[in-house]
């Protein structure tokens, strides 16, 4: 009689995967945790050995200092003004262009790829001459100047996301409206745009996050009046040592809105990242 030799069953629990995922989650959360802890830690705890993992007496002094003494609040307000205006403008002009590209194939492939190529232009190549022109036009360090720059810089994203959205939207309703005697403009504005509203919202979220987190253009095109939140961090460079808490507090204030928006819009993330090329 031969006995059936059973191979030992591989355990169902994938320990390797769990370990990898756990380590990676720690890697993701560690900088955020440490930044938050630093923002509520009294300055005396900075240089303690071993490091203070959680302060015994949390404080909000760094938040008030960052917002008022370092003009973080002004930066926050400027960031809101510039990001919201640029997002609105970009979505408006982007939707117009995308509709034309999707329904009439305006300018063929050349026009749509020309817009896409703008996404990959190096900002450093544009910023030097733009800076000189802004100085001549007195747009340097103004909200309007930065809004215009951000509108253009987010246009490739909004145009391509909306382009992809309109292309997968059936034309039948617009055609029916045309047959009923609607003008092209009314068919677009009254029928296509309301139907495309979810796509516009998704495009707006990604345009807003792009403006909110942008640093390079703001660094060069603004200084004392129109400066945005990310550029406030310049104040903490150079003085290495004393401003850890303020820098962290400002970072926490700045990252909360964009993270909330981003996670809420997560369903559209793949389309946002690939400019509509991949549907998630």
């Amino acid at each position: 009689m031969s006995t059936v030799v059973r191979r030992p069953r591989r355990s169902r629990i994938p320990y390797g995967r769990i370990a990898f995922l756990s380590i990676y989650m720690i890697f993701v959360l560690a900088p955020l945790y440490w930044m938050f802890i630093t923002s509520i830690k009294p300055s005396d705890d900075y240089l303690a050995v071993p490091p203070v993992w959680f302060p015994a007496e949390p404080t909000i002094v760094h938040y008030t200092a960052a917002l008022f003494a370092y003009r973080g609040l002004d930066g926050l307000v400027n960031s809101l003004i510039v990001s919201i205006s640029a997002t609105a403008a970009s979505c408006f002009f982007g939707t117009l262009m995308a509709y034309s590209l999707a329904r009439f194939n305006t300018g063929g492939q050349h026009l749509s790829f020309w817009v896409l190529s703008q996404r990959f232009l190096s900002p450093i190549a544009i910023i030097l001459p733009l800076f000189l022109n802004y100085r001549m036009l007195r747009l340097q360090d103004t909200h309007v100047g930065l809004i215009i720059a951000y509108t253009v810089f987010t246009l490739p994203v909004t145009v391509w996301m909306m382009f992809a959205y309109f292309r997968q939207m059936p034309r039948s309703l617009e055609e029916a409206a045309l047959v009923d005697g609607c003008t092209r403009w009314r068919a677009f504005w009254r029928i296509a745009v309301p139907l495309a509203a979810p796509g516009i919202v998704a495009a707006a979220v990604f345009a807003f996050i792009a403006c909110w987190t942008e640093f390079f253009f703001a660094l060069i095109l603004t200084s004392k009046t129109a400066f945005t939140l990310p550029t406030v961090f310049r104040a903490f460079l150079g003085f290495q040592g004393a401003q850890y808490g303020e820098a962290s507090a400002l970072a926490i204030v700045s990252l909360v809105p964009s993270i909330i928006l981003g996670v809420l819009a997560q369903r559209n993330l793949v389309r946002g990242l690939t400019l509509g090329a991949v549907r998630g």
């Binding site: 993701v28 440490w34 305006t106 232009l121 450093i124 030097l128 509108t151 640093f215 820098a247 997560q266």
Partner: protein, 312 residues
């Protein structure tokens, strides 16, 4: 069928008349919609580029008055600058290290997370958080973790290795490069992960079932089924990431300031210093054009050699 035919018959001539008479107004309509966005792009990115063609060949320098024509001197000065050449090397090195690490980690994460399990949604939501944070803040956060007298990294490494660790993560070679790669990988791995996960979930399950019936091993299944299936996504993700990675500036500005000395200058950072702290605007413009052309060559090669054959 019969209903719609009955309805459309009386309307058909009307519709035909419309299309005949409104060809011209359609033409006007479609270009009117395109015009505002196209004009904005022309004004803010194409016009400055054309303007810079003039800046290239004159002396536009805040330290020297007037704009005298100096021909190719700007180009010669940039090419002769060892820091410029060094910064290109740093850009290439960091780009390759960043994108390769992000790709491998992102692929591993996507493979782990393609299977459904409880809490998967929460895990994915946490993993994508870095994508929504300003690179300036990412740089700040890593600087806090790594800083020499204060950051907990050296302390934890000391506990792990059971001896004192005093690495100057932001000031000592090669650790400063490691620190910059860490920050970039932290921020952009989810970019790869999200796109590759979308690719993996689009593979129909029957393909795997067929492979299992035929007794194909796990490694062969991955190599001969999964990889070819998501190859277009891989190329797209890597191309998009590469094109952004070569612009690296923000984390350099915050974490190392290009230092020590000019060790961690990337091309963008070098041109920024040249143009906006030394105000050699013409020389910086010449450098920016060289960088732009090099970038375009990379793009051409990537699109022609990789993307087009993969999609057709």
């Amino acid at each position: 069928m019969s209903d719609s035919a009955a309805i459309s018959t009386p309307l058909a001539p009307l519709a035909r008349r419309r299309t005949a008479s409104s060809k011209k107004s359609d033409w006007r309509f479609k270009w009117l919609l395109v015009a505002p966005a196209a004009l904005l792009i022309l004004a803010i990115s194409i016009y400055p580029l054309l303007f810079s063609l003039w800046v290239l060949f004159v002396n536009y320098d805040f330290q020297i008055p007037g704009h005298a024509f100096i021909g190719l001197k700007n180009f010669r000065q940039v090419i002769a600058d060892p820091v410029a050449v060094h910064s290109l090397g740093v850009t290439a090195g960091l780009t390759v290290a960043n994108v390769a690490t992000e790709f491998l980690l992102g692929l591993a994460l996507a493979l782990v997370l393609v299977k459904t399990f409880r809490g998967r949604g929460v895990v994915i939501s946490i993993l994508i958080v870095p994508l929504f944070i300003s690179p300036v803040i990412v740089g700040q956060a890593w600087a806090l973790l790594l800083q020499k007298p204060f950051g907990p990294t050296n302390y934890l490494l000391g506990l792990l290795l059971k001896r004192e660790v005093t690495i100057g993560w932001l000031t000592e070679k090669p650790w400063n490069y490691v620190a910059l790669v860490l920050a970039d990988v932290w921020q952009w791995t989810p970019f790869m992960f999200v796109i590759l996960l979308a690719g993996l979930t689009s593979i129909p399950p029957h393909v795997y079932e067929a492979a299992e019936l035929d007794g194909v091993g796990a490694w062969n299944t991955f190599w001969y089924i999964t990889v070819p299936y998501i190859a277009p996504m891989m190329l797209l993700a890597v191309t998009f990431r590469l094109l952004d990675a070569i612009k690296l500036f923000d984390t350099i500005f915050i974490m190392t300031g290009g230092g020590p000395g000019t060790q961690t200058y990337t091309a963008s950072f070098y041109l920024y210093v040249l143009g906006f702290t030394q105000f050699h605007l013409s020389r910086a413009t010449a450098g920016a054009w060289i960088f732009l052309i090099l970038t375009l060559i990379v793009v051409q090669v990537l699109v022609r050699r990789l993307l087009l054959p993969a999609t057709t």
